[in-house]
Symmetry: C2
Subunit: 497 residues, 2 copies
């Protein structure tokens, strides 16, 4: 192997990775700290950094180094081969774009985000519509440069989960379309009902310290990360600097708690990736679906389970003795595993969540196929919500404006959530095969073996394996919807009997 070429490639990839980290910090700071009148300045800063990141990532030296290394592909060690393969993919996706694309996109993202936040506040889709039009136009432009003029939505899918297409996603979603509405009907027909409106007056500072304790117990390392507050919870950053956010409401302690557990799943994955060499297949995550599988596994299969909750419940009651005094253990557990028709995706339960994703996938496909106009989106959204969930959103804020994703042009991202649910269900099966005493561990609050298993099976591989291969090796099964369907039936039918 040409060692000097490889070392030079790693240097260039690290430089781009550092700029990516800076860009990520600018984004986090914008959501968490930015003074309101500094939005335009931040947009200009982000555009400048994005432009430089684009230049660094499309440095022609990267192209020629890749050419040299690819010429001796057979003599490359496996690690270097993975680095070269993924660097080529990323490089080609970028060099096809015009020089000013990244800066234009960053500027649009920042402005569209604020337009979305204001439109949602006012529940007025019309205020956001022109920005969504611009994001769609930008995505189509990107697709046309990258050779996806015929099927621009396929590029959007591929960007988040390499190798996937809209048709492949559709095939995986089809059994869910058949099974989940039926499962939902059976659950809702049960006489067992989760209690409503039982949570009142949970002081925010105590919520914060309780969830910090949970996050610590899961294995999150605060020397390499932090938790703050933002409008919409998210996890950003890499390696030694993982920044998660949550939000607090005194009457909804489960929202902060489980969204923090969810984000911690993301954070643990990033903290578990190898550190060096930065910005390569050896250290970056395997894509959005795998990322979501980590957050979902921790949130749902692990922390909403009876044994894990048996550990947390007495501690939760100790933190909020008066607030929980009149709530029975079974009601509390049902509240944590409530299934209901809810218009809001991030408040949705595990069963309906996948229907929310199918709804967005359908609408994105129609938007990209030109079969749906942006101005007709609120009505289409409401119609699909009726068809899939059997309810109608009250207004734009709880309908088409609820999600941040489209404001950043993150089309093709939603399907990853449902793919992540499928992968999580498969990992959960394999985890139980490896740790037959899992329930006993969870009842003791012993999460370290779970984290160690995920580090070994998933995290340490970073992006060295193609998605289907990583899922097959980690879970012992091909990627498919059946484990998810089985898991949902096993979890919810006994509960709602």
């Amino acid at each position: 192997m040409d060692h000097s070429a490889y070392a030079e490639l790693l240097d260039l990839l690290e430089k781009a990775a550092r700029l990516g980290e800076v860009q990520s910090l600018l984004h986090w700071d914008e959501q968490v700290n930015l003074p309101p009148d500094s939005r335009d300045a931040r947009a200009a800063q982000s555009a400048t950094v994005s432009d430089l990141l684009h230049r660094a990532s499309t440095d022609p030296k990267i192209g020629s180094l890749l050419n040299r290394l690819e010429a001796e592909r057979d003599s490359l060690p496996a690690e270097a081969r993975a680095v070269v393969r993924e660097a080529r993919r990323d490089y080609d996706l970028l060099v096809r774009l015009p020089d000013d694309f990244a800066a234009r996109k960053a500027r649009l993202d920042s402005r569209a985000f604020h337009a979305w936040a204001e439109a949602r506040e006012a529940s007025d889709f019309a205020r956001f519509a022109p920005w969504l039009e611009q994001q769609l136009e930008m995505a189509r432009e990107q697709a046309s440069h990258c050779g996806y003029s015929e099927n621009p939505y396929d590029l959007m899918i591929d960007l988040h989960d390499p190798g996937m297409t809209a048709a492949a996603v559709e095939a995986l979603f089809t059994p869910l379309r058949r099974e989940l509405p039926e499962l939902l009907e059976r659950i809702l027909a049960s006489p067992v009902r989760p209690p409503e409106g039982i949570f009142r007056g949970f002081p925010v500072d105590r919520q914060r310290s309780f969830l910090e304790g949970v996050v610590t117990r899961m294995g999150f390392d605060y020397r390499r990360g932090r938790i703050d507050v933002s409008l919409h919870p998210f996890c950003s950053g890499r390696g030694t600097d993982i920044r998660m956010t949550t939000r607090f409401h005194p009457d909804n302690p489960l929202d902060s708690l489980f969204s923090s557990i969810h984000e911690t799943g993301h954070g643990l994955y990033e903290q578990g990736l190898p550190a060096e060499p930065a910005g390569t297949a050896l250290t970056i995550n395997a894509g959005m679906a795998v990322h979501e599988s980590q957050s979902r596994l921790w949130e749902n299969q692990i922390c909403r389970s009876r044994p894990a909750w048996a550990f947390f419940e007495p501690r939760f009651r100790e933190a909020f003795p008066e607030q929980l005094a009149r709530i029975s253990s079974e009601d509390l557990y049902l509240a944590i595993n409530a299934v209901s028709r809810n218009p809001i995706r991030v408040d949705a339960d595990e069963v309906t969540y996948n229907l929310h994703i199918i709804l967005r996938f359908d609408l994105e496909r129609r938007l990209f196929a030109g079969k749906l106009a942006v101005r007709d989106l609120p009505e289409a959204w409401n119609e699909s919500t009726r068809a899939l969930l059997g309810m109608t959103p009250k207004n734009d804020a709880e309908g088409v404006l609820q999600d941040v994703h489209w404001s950043g042009g993150a089309f093709g991202y939603f399907p990853s959530y449902c793919l992540g649910n499928m992968i999580a269900a498969q990992l959960h099966l394999a985890l139980r095969e490896s740790l037959p005493n899992l329930d006993a561990l969870l009842r003791e609050g012993e999460f370290a073996p779970v984290l160690a298993w995920l580090r070994e099976r998933v995290h340490r591989h970073a992006r060295t394996l193609p998605l289907p291969e990583l899922v097959r090796q980690a879970s012992g099964r091909d990627l498919g919807p059946q484990a998810l369907i089985d898991y949902l039936r096993d979890r919810y039918l006994p509960l709602y009997s």
Copy 2:
């Protein structure tokens, strides 16, 4: 004028300014938010951004545009002439440095900062000494590239206050060396003594809300800035995003309050600078001495005055009724205007503060002249403290390690504090001439006329005038030490009679 060349120059300067803002945010975030194990990653990020900032600021296009615009200097409007003059100065100071200098410096700054923080924590100068050696070496390298091989310290002075030299500073400091120790002796010989140890148990959250109220009343715009907590108070950022920090101790409410007032003085200056065109003489501050004059004027001449404190005192008592119940008004006022021998610069009073600066100025000159070795610095520090202040620091933490500046290689910065005190005293004289009813306004908490006067006399000029000219226009006097000496006598001799 060649309008297209001028527009292109403004674009390039703005791009560099945006990167400077990003660099400033990285620095703020490092002090306020950074997870401890991410220091190396942040050092790498800062080095990457610094390198790009250096490239943007030394873009040869800037050089050729400046050549074109300088060729028609006589036909340039006054504003463009100021932009070109300062851009030329900044450009020349940078193009003489090697390409990798900025990145090396940023990496060193970040690491040296953490070494300093740890050394100070352990009160062990030896841990910091190798980093200080490296910073001195770096400064000498910079001076040799910029043509200051003979007198590298002159460059350090000039970088903070353009046009000044070590000899010029020495000339301004000489009368202070003569007058201040005598004034200090007279004050300390007085039977009037400021009370000690009278503040106990001031809850941090109430300190925070009180000082936020004070900062608001001074005119700070929270839509364009914020206040957070860090080890050492500072103010960073520009324009619409001013980030100030403070620190809290339950037994020292005056430290947070007056350091916040001080940083607010900096923040008000930055918020008062014109917004466009970014990164030019029309919008950037006039240098460190003028910056310090703003923070000092607000902190000392305005907010420590009897009339301003007459406004704040009842509000302070309302916020802390129990804590202040047994403290008389005169004791409180004396505590705010206490004069004492204190080893810590940032805790020093107005009289001894200038002696702290003279001490640092002397040591920096000797270090740069090769007359003092880094290993001998703690002993030299302690000796000078004895000579100037009549006391000996207990250890390195309260001696040579107390200040953050040298960890960032900010030599030649300290003199600006004392120059700032001189300018503040002159502005205070001129302010009283313009507003004969100033005391009545302060007693009512009416600070808006003060801010408006500073906006008009100082802020709006940004960096369009050379320092001596700005001081002369704003205060009606040449820069000198006499106004400061007179002010200190008039403030402190009646109090300590």
